[in-house]
């Protein structure tokens, strides 16, 4: 068996999610090669070569891949990947975009968002917003799989053993169907939401974007990332990339603090695998309390400032 992992990165650094995907690949077993496709990705390729369990790194460095346009990336991955038994990538928005295209080009099914590997062809994945867990067997010769990073502990970023070899590919695929126009990236010095050890999220109960500053102050004390419910994003309190849930980010931190969030199933789908869940809500009937390890029935406008004060005492 031979597995091709498509690295997730931003052209300058390797995303941690790639290490989770390599862990999933190790659970399948076999030689693991990593494909780094992008523009000026030397540092990413070097980082990938150091990761535990990686056999070889393939690099496709070209402007055509600089913005990860699915039309170009999928042609590359389909061509490079057809010699492998498995093609894996993280179920982030980049992987979700290009991977089904790869599967279609290879005329194989895709298994989305796996959280466990049962065997080389059988995988476990949540369906119905995590309200059911399916075990599925892929019957095609090439298994195209996206991996939910929180389902797998990352491999070590530095493997210790001899670094993998790095091979440059000169395959340039420009489908000519799409072009990059621009982007608005949210800037934050806080940890990445998807991989943070502590997440504090606000919901509609926060009332406006300014009030999120209260959560940010608490987050900075704890080294936490800040998230939000869909209602808070829809209301324009915070940007879309902070949404946690079925259709936002999936997080599984050591500690998740939900503030002014009711606990709709679509929100729970994104955070219910957290180790410890805290809910602060003034409605004691709020469904979030059914999944919370520690529930505090209180007005958040009193509780959050108090939380900040108490944390200052102990941290």
């Amino acid at each position: 068996m031979s597995i091709l992992v498509i690295a997730e990165h931003d052209n300058s650094s390797l995303k941690q999610a790639t290490l989770n995907v390599v862990a999933a690949a190790k659970a399948i077993g076999g030689d693991i090669d990593v494909l780094v496709a992008g523009e000026n990705v030397g540092a990413v390729a070097e980082a990938a070569a150091k990761a535990e369990g990686v056999n070889k790194v393939l690099v496709a460095d070209n402007a055509a891949y600089g913005h990860f346009l699915a039309e170009n990336l999928s042609e590359l991955v389909a061509e490079v990947g057809k010699g492998y038994s498995h093609i894996l990538t993280s179920a982030g928005t980049t992987g979700k975009d290009f991977m089904p295209r790869v599967a279609a080009l290879l005329d194989v099914a895709q298994v989305s968002d796996i959280i466990r590997v049962e065997s080389e062809d059988t995988f476990v994945r949540p369906i119905y917003a995590g309200n059911a867990i399916a075990t599925v067997k892929a019957n095609d010769s090439i298994k195209v799989v996206t991996v939910r990073p929180t389902g797998f502990d990352p491999v070590a970023a530095e493997g210790g053993s001899a670094s993998a070899s790095v091979e440059q590919l000169d395959v340039v695929k420009d489908a000519g169907l799409s072009s990059f126009v621009g982007e608005e990236k949210a800037q934050s010095d806080r940890p990445d939401l998807a991989s943070a050890g502590i997440v504090i999220s606000g919901g509609r109960g926060m009332q406006n974007g300014d009030n999120f500053k209260m959560l940010e102050q608490v987050a900075d004390l704890m080294g936490a990332a800040v998230g939000a419910s869909r209602a808070a994003v829809d209301a324009g309190f915070v940007p879309n990339d902070m949404q946690v849930g079925q259709t936002g980010k999936i997080v599984a931190p050591q500690l998740y603090v939900a503030v002014g969030i009711s606990g709709a199933i679509q929100h729970l789908a994104g955070m219910s695998d957290s180790k410890v869940i805290v809910a602060i809500n003034k409605d004691e009937e709020a469904p979030i309390f059914q999944v919370a390890d520690y529930g505090l029935v209180a007005d958040l406008f009193e509780a959050v400032p108090q939380l900040e004060e108490e944390l200052k005492k102990v941290l």
């Binding site: 931003d10 989305s112 119905y128 059911a132 867990i133 990059f180 259709t247 505090l296 102990v314």
Partner: protein
């Protein structure tokens, strides 16, 4: 220009999902079914394009059992012009759905195909991308804004770090995210009118597509339930528990 919208009949998003005792799947007997929420957004976007004079005709297509005609009728009541029902009682997976839709695209030759980014049952997030690959079209996935500009469409996409805008040659495939628009409700007169709008039925065999599943579901289980927690009296107790009991801060 012609716009094709694909819609799926799924369990209503408010329904509490229950796994069948024999672990073969989710219990769908006597539960409320509805149009997938992302598909509603797709229909709404097409209707808005028509209201702006960008779209001239909206064709809505659904794959599924006879009852999926209800969702087609809903789309017609919201403003689609005619429907195509690809009738099958089989479970149709993403790749096969994309192949069926490709056959419709070849016949209808729409300039834009709009689909939901995922359906809330299988949560696959695949069909739009697969359709784009099979038809050789560009794709604007997880769209929060769609602007048609001559022979191109600019799509702003919700991505992990924020927003990203791409320009696609038409024809193109767009998949909708939640903030693209807020779908309207169908009015009673429009629901009545929708009953008279044309709705054709075809079978996968008519379209020459083999819909045999490539993935087999071995079992479906309920997720592990979380242990019930406790209520704390105040913030001081909360912080104490987090520090000394859970040891997470």
């Amino acid at each position: 220009m012609k716009v094709l919208v694909a819609v799926k009949r799924v369990i209503d998003y408010n329904v509490k999902v229950r796994v069948k005792p024999d672990n073969t799947g989710v219990d769908l007997a006597n539960v409320k079914m509805a149009m997938n929420p992302f598909c509603e957004i797709a229909v709404e976007e097409a209707v808005r394009l028509k209201e702006k004079g960008v779209a001239s005709e909206i064709v809505v297509v659904s794959i599924g059992p006879k009852a999926a005609q209800e969702q087609i009728r809903t789309a017609l009541a919201l403003g689609a012009d005619r429907g195509i029902h690809i009738e099958t009682d089989e479970e149709v997976q993403s790749l096969e759905a994309a192949k069926l839709l490709k056959a419709v695209v070849e016949k209808e030759e729409p300039k834009l195909v709009i689909l939901g980014k995922q359906s809330i049952d299988s949560d696959n997030n695949q069909t739009g991308q697969m359709l784009a690959a099979l038809t050789g079209m560009g794709q604007g996935t997880f769209a929060s804004e769609v602007v048609v500009d001559g022979d191109k469409v600019n799509v702003t996409r919700e991505v992990d770090g924020g927003l990203m805008t791409v320009a696609l040659n038409l024809p193109a495939v767009v998949t909708t995210d939640l903030r693209l628009n807020e779908p309207r409700y169908a009015s009673l007169p429009n629901i009545m009118k929708a009953k008279k709008k044309p709705l054709d039925s075809v079978s996968p065999a008519d379209l020459g597509v083999d819909v045999a599943a490539r993935l087999s579901t071995l079992k479906v289980e309920a997720p592990a339930a979380r242990q019930a927690g406790i209520k704390v009296a105040d913030v001081a107790e909360l912080v104490d528990k987090l520090k000394n009991e859970a040891k997470v801060i």
